[in-house]
């Protein structure tokens, strides 16, 4: 089943919704500045907060999407939903080809956070896709019917450090 995302993006008065979920449009200036503020003020506690906030909101978001679309009931179609929603939300491209319920690898050749970070702050020395890591952990937990926090997602290489693409490793936490 292919989701018609533009149809799911709606405005009710002044509020924006994607498939029933309240969302906001923000640009890379804000998203990257928030990341930098948290990281420079709190170090790893700050990046953990970014990861967990993304994990919790993607967990809640996917739970809601799947409730709205009961016909999306195979793992394959759920993974496809995850990657098309990532793309529709302007977050980038994400490939779930090497993933199993026990974990695996995920490759992202393009993303909002990479493009935004490089445009605003330039090259990083360490991987910086904390949002995407958390987002993947939350989405996979819903797709494989696990509790939140079941997966741990690390980033093995990152385009923010000028690697060719971002590569994420998913393991059972």
């Amino acid at each position: 089943m292919i989701i018609n995302w533009p149809e799911k993006f709606a405005r009710k008065g002044h509020e924006l919704f994607l498939s029933g979920l309240p969302i906001a449009l923000h640009c890379h200036h804000y998203n990257m500045n928030l990341q930098k503020t948290l990281e420079s003020s709190l170090g790893s506690d700050g990046t953990l907060l970014l990861y967990q906030a993304a994990e919790e909101s993607s967990y809640a978001g996917f739970t809601s999407f799947l409730q709205h679309h009961p016909k999306i009931n195979t793992t394959k179609s759920k993974l496809e939903l995850a990657s098309t929603s990532y793309q529709y939300c302007g977050l980038g491209i994400i490939n779930f080809t090497q993933i199993e319920p026990e974990g695996g690898r995920i490759v992202s050749p393009h993303s909002h956070h990479v493009t935004g970070w490089l445009a605003k702050f330039g090259k990083r020395e360490t991987p910086g896709c904390f949002f995407s890591r958390g987002w993947i952990a939350g989405a996979l937990a819903v797709i494989y019917d696990k509790h939140i926090g079941y997966y741990r997602v690390d980033e093995l290489q990152c385009k923010m450090t000028l690697a060719r693409e971002c590569v994420f490793e998913v393991v059972i936490a």
């Binding site: 533009p6 993006f9 405005r11 008065g13 002044h14 509020e15 924006l16 994607l18 979920l21 309240p22 969302i23 906001a24 449009l25 923000h26 640009c27 890379h28 200036h29 804000y30 998203n31 500045n33 928030l34 503020t37 948290l38 003020s41 709190l42 506690d45 700050g46 907060l49 970014l50 967990q52 906030a53 993304a54 919790e56 909101s57 809640a60 978001g61 990532y86 793309q87 529709y88 939300c89 302007g90 977050l91 980038g92 491209i93 050749p109 393009h110 993303s111 909002h112 493009t115 935004g116 445009a119």
Partner: protein
């Protein structure tokens, strides 16, 4: 010509439906994302909790909002979409602020309205149903101070852009306070931006 908020909202809704092949949304000179408001609230209020109640998180979050508002709306007013859709509506310098507010509404930042604008001096913006206030109230209950840090920074950024020094030297020339906030139980949120003390 009056500022046509509906036309601006329509242009943003239309533009934000367009994706290039990298899954990025380039619109109005910036890269846009659609992220659940819950994420932003978890980050802001989680950060505030971790930093302690000494006001340092509040300062940083307002500054992040202001710096971003400044860069974002500079990108927006320099864009092709602005030239096409918004510029024809602008007759006076002050009109820019009303257009910025319309774009903020289009971005889903709340039901914003300019209550008062004294050129160079003071801007009062009201919001009902800001997602920051709603998110705080839902997660933690009644607040003892205003919680709409992003909107507060953005209100000051609007004045910086229109009445401050030429970009990029005008940021933080204005500063805003939140005089009412729905997170405190007030009927609406209100932001007052004035010249920052030197």
């Amino acid at each position: 010509m009056a500022i046509d908020t509906d036309k601006i909202v329509h242009a943003v809704m239309h533009g934000s439906r367009i994706r290039e092949e990298k899954g990025i949304i380039p619109l109005f000179g910036v890269y846009l994302s659609m992220i659940p408001v819950e994420y932003y609230n978890k980050i802001s209020f989680g950060f505030e909790r971790k930093m302690g109640q000494d006001g340092s998180a509040e300062k940083l979050l307002v500054a992040a909002g202001q710096e971003c508002g400044y860069a974002t709306f500079q990108g927006i007013r320099s864009s092709r979409e602005w030239d096409e859709v918004v510029q024809p509506m602008i007759e006076h310098t002050e009109d820019q602020i009303y257009c910025f507010v319309s774009i903020a509404i289009a971005f889903g930042w709340g039901d914003l309205a300019v209550e008062e604008l004294i050129p160079h001096e003071k801007l009062v913006v009201r919001a009902s149903d800001s997602y920051e206030a709603r998110g705080y109230w839902d997660a933690y209950g009644k607040a003892d101070a205003g919680k709409c840090y992003m909107l507060r920074g953005v209100a000051a950024a609007f004045m910086d852009l229109v009445y401050g020094a030429e970009y990029p030297d005008g940021c933080f020339q204005y500063t805003a306070i939140e005089t009412f906030c729905q997170a405190k139980g007030d009927p609406h949120c209100e932001f007052v931006a004035r010249k920052a003390a030197l």
